[in-house]
Each structure stands twice: as structure tokens, then as C-alpha cells.
Symmetry: C2
């Protein structure tokens, strides 16, 4: 069976990686399209550890240019080269990362055997970064010390399924293709041949995932991410460190949960934990007080969405 919508957590740590936790990165597989979100230090080791096929990743999205969100990228790019990648790689980031990559290629006297197509975005705007046959990816403007964007992955409306028990002799392939799109099939004269509802089953629901890191409490994004199926929201601190969260423009676990509640997501994942917290259960408990369907986004955890 093909995976339909599966998220794998590669890193759960805030700026200082501690207790074996890695900085932020996540791997997302939607209908066999493969995406990497942020690339904290060690991302290539984590991809190998969880046996994710790095050659299939064609799009990488970098939220912002703090080191804990991109310092693993360069090692991954070199390893893709050494593993003989040839396919284009699309890199979505703010301006600057292209310059950082080029400078490091220059000093290593390296010329990659694949192309990096660099797409610079403006983190202050909602922008469409990627669209293909099954989904769209938009930026989510966040509130942080540096310009920073989250990413909203949203499946397009899916085709209806044909009810195979109702198929008739003489039905042509083009009739079936039309039925899948949800319309009735007419003959050349405009007369009804096949009424759609009689031959089809309901389309599967389109799923959505919002990745929101790093950010202070940000009311502005509620409208954009309303009713997403899955929300990842950073929770660097607990409420007892609320002042520290304000100062560094991060969120508390309670704030992440409040956001989950206000945007009416089905499930909340929290991550980007400060090195001051060895144990994460109190962090989880704080969130669940407000939004019960919360999980820790820790290394190796996977979350599949039922369609």
C-alpha cells in the first residue's frame, strides 16, 4: 500500500541540542511526494537512521536562517552529490542561504552533479511555494527575531473513486475519467449517458499539515491554518518561563495548545524543546490541559493521517 500522508520527526531540539535530541527537521511524505522541512545539524544522519530514501527528496523548505534550522543542509547536499544524485533539487528559503551554499562550494572546490533550483520567499507574506498535481505548499508568516515562515501543506481535492460493481459493458476509458472528476457523462448530442452518483463513491478527504516554528504567539495565522488536520507548533518553553519565551520570541507549551484549540486542528504536535528540559512529560501535560490530542514531536516518531 502506498503511504498517503506520513510525517517523520527527525529533530525535536531547540537551539542547543541536548540529551541526544537533534535540532529541527521533519520529513513529510504525501502521496509519494517527498519533502524535507528544515535541516538542522545532523539531518543526514537522522534520514539514514530512519531509512528515508534521500534521493527521493525533491523539495526542501527552510523556515529561517537561525543555525539550528539549516546547519545540516550543507552536509546533506554534499552527501546527495557523493551518492550520485542527478535530479534537480528545489530549495525554498529566504535570500542568503544561496550565498551561504555557494561560498562553501567555492572553498571545497566542489561542483555538484545535480542542480539546486533556489526559490527565495518573503516570510512576511503568504506565498505559494509549490504546486503539483496533488498538493500546494504555502508560507505561513510567523513572529520571530529573524524573518521566519511556517509551511502549510494542503492536498488538492481528490478524484472520486469508481464503484467497480456498477461498471457497465461498453463504458469507455474517457467516460471513467470523466466520472472520476465528478461530472455526469453526456453523449455527443448532450443527452445523459451516465449519472455520476450512480457509478462513483465519495472522494477521499483532502488532508492538511501546518508546520509552525519558530514563533511567538501569533494570532494572525489562525485564519490561514483553521481546521488543519495536523498542526506542529513550537513549544520551546513551559509557562513558568513565559518571560523567557517573550524575550526570545518563542512560545510556551500552553500557547501552542491554545493555538491548536483556536484554529480547531484535529491533532497538535509540539517540539523545539529548550535544553533546560531533560524530561518532556511535564511539557506534554501542560499542553494536554488545554488541548488533549497533543503529542510530543520527538525523534523517530511518525504520524500518519487517515484519509
Amino acid at each position: 500500500m502506498n503511504v498517503s500522508f506520513k510525517l517523520t520527526i527527525l529533530g525535536s531540539s531547540g537551539a542547543i541540542p541536548a540529551y541526544g535530541r537533534f535540532p529541527t527537521s521533519q520529513y513529510l511524505n504525501i502521496q509519494n511526494k517527498h519533502f524535507l522541512i528544515d535541516s538542522g545539524e545532523g539531518v543526514q544522519m537522522q534520514l539514514m537512521r530512519y531509512q528515508i530514501p534521500i534521493h527521493k527528496i525533491d523539495h526542501i523548505f527552510i523556515s529561517h536562517l537561525h543555525g539550528d534550522h539549516y546547519l545540516g543542509l550543507m552536509g546533506l547536499l554534499f552527501s546527495m552529490h557523493l551518492q550520485k544524485r542527478v535530479n534537480d533539487l528545489h530549495l525554498h528559503s529566504q535570500k542568503g542561504l544561496d550565498e551561504i551554499i555557494l561560498l562553501q562550494l567555492k572553498y571545497s572546490k566542489s561542483s555538484l552533479n545535480y542542480r539546486i533550483i533556489f526559490h527565495a520567499f518573503d516570510a512576511a507574506q503568504i506565498q505559494l511555494l509549490h504546486e503539483d498535481d496533488v498538493l500546494t505548499v504555502h508560507t505561513i508568516p510567523l513572529l520571530h527575531k529573524l524573518p521566519c515562515a511556517g509551511f502549510l501543506f494542503r492536498e488538492k481535492t481528490k478524484q472520486k473513486k469508481i464503484n467497480k460493481e456498477k461498471l457497465k459493458e461498453g463504458m469507455l476509458l474517457q467516460h471513467i475519467a470523466q466520472l472520476k472528476t465528478g461530472v455526469d457523462v453526456l453523449d455527443d448530442m448532450g443527452n445523459l449517458l451516465y449519472r455520476n452518483n450512480e457509478y462513483t463513491l465519495a472522494a477521499q478527504r483532502s488532508l492538511s499539515y501546518a508546520f509552525c516554528s519558530d514563533t511567538a504567539w501569533n494570532e494572525n495565522m489562525i485564519e490561514q491554518i483553521r481546521a488543519v488536520d495536523l498542526l506542529y507548533h513550537e513549544a520551546t518553553f513551559m509557562e513558568e518561563e513565559k518571560d523567557k519565551a517573550r524575550e526570545t520570541q518563542h512560545s510556551t507549551s500552553a500557547e501552542a495548545a491554545t493555538m491548536a484549540k483556536q484554529c480547531a486542528t484535529k491533532k497538535l504536535l509540539i517540539g523545539h524543546f529548550s535544553a533546560r528540559y531533560r524530561e518532556l512529560e511535564p511539557m506534554l501535560a501542560e499542553a494536554r490541559e488545554i488541548f488533549s490530542n497533543t503529542e510530543l514531536a520527538i525523534e523517530g516518531n511518525t504520524f500518519e493521517l487517515p484519509s
Copy 2:
């Protein structure tokens, strides 16, 4: 007891980190002077894992600008900043790394709360990089695709120990200091007061460590590293992949062992293993055929030199 000469291996991997191995880095403690040699991706996690106090590291030596030898540096520099480092940090590298660091600081809008003193070296020459009261560090010119230098750490001649049983009433502190340096103590008129040999024990031996990665077989360095107490020599491949070693300007395990024999070191460590080798015992066996006192330089292994 103070550690006198202890090496900790933080990474053993070649260019592609595999099987949980990390790219090259090593931590060296000589008479409580703390050095980091190379800084492959993940070095800060490895330092934490082995409970090495990163604030004590005042000198970092980077052999060359291939990513697997320096990509962990930036994360470490940021973490030192976040952990409130104030002491100067001396960074020894070829030109270019300074530019790479400055560019990344610029885009993260960061200003470190400590100074990095950048010392550029010419990898083609034997150069003195560092000297203090107990040791010297010189470059070792290597043969690689990029300009690349190893590092030779050599303790200075140590002071003699005072034989406490022989101490006499009326001996002044300056007399003792003179005896430690190995000279006889004379009075103001030039008459012998204390004959050195009667009051002192032999000085401990001065120890030395040569770090040689990355390099092809390199006869030119034999003279410089002759009789070092400990030699680390890269062994990316086994002899069966000798052609690949030539092409990429790396060494085989047998070549590392031959170098150990020719320079008459006491002990050889091999590392920088290609991702094609899951098991390292055959690699070790190949070296031991030629030089029996060989060990694998793998993560977490420590090597102490007896003085």
C-alpha cells in the same frame, strides 16, 4: 589526578556518515590544555555525549575545507555563544573559513559574545601554529585534493621533579625553581651550593601526537613525525580499493600501517572510514598485519599516553 595526555575520538567516518558514525573530530587534553581537532557535523552533540566541557576549549584546528571536517563548527560556535562563553577562541584554519563564518553570522543577525581570533595557515608549509608553556603545535603538510594539513602536538621538555626526601633546611624557593630546570645552584660568588643530580629525579618524557587526515600516501612527512608516541592516520579504504584511494587522494589501511612502521611510532590509530565498510574488523586486521599496535579510532574511544 590531572590528565596528562588524553585523546577522545568524536567521529570516525569518511565523507558520508553511516552506521551511526560521525564525521571527523577529536578532542585532545594535554596537561589540561584543551584542543579540538576538526569539527565534523554533529561535533557539539558528540562533545556533550562524552561530557567534554566545551567552554574549556580555547583552540580549534581545522585540517581542510571539505565539509566532513568543518561543518559542525558553526553549530558549536553558536552553542558556545548561547552558553555565555566570554573567553577568546583561537581558530586555526586555511583562509576561507573566516568568510564562511562571517556570512552565516550576518544572515542569522548574530553577534557572538566572545571573540574568535582567526589564524590562517598555509597547508603547504610546516608552520608553528601555537606555543604555550607546555607544548607546540605545528602543521603537517599532507597530500589531498584540497590543500590540507595535519597537526603535530609536541610537549616541551618537562621540568625535573624535586626529590622531596633530599630537601634541606634553608633551601629557598628560588633554589628549588633552579633545580627543576636542571641546573646546579650556585651562591653569589659562584660556588656550588646544591648539585642538581643530588636533589632531583629525571623529568617525565615529553609526549607527541600526530594527526594526519586527509591524505594520500605521503613520504614527505616521515621525517617530521618520526618517533611520535601516537599517530592517527586516515584509512578511508582497504587495499582492495587501492585504485579508489589513489583517485580520491586517500589512504588504505595497509598504507596507514606502513607509515606507522616507517616513522616508528609507538601506536597507530586509524579512522575516516568509507561508508562502504559496515564492519571495521577487516580494516583493523589489514593494518595489524603490518603494524601490530594499531587501534580503531571510533566514537567514544579514548587513548591516554603514559608519561
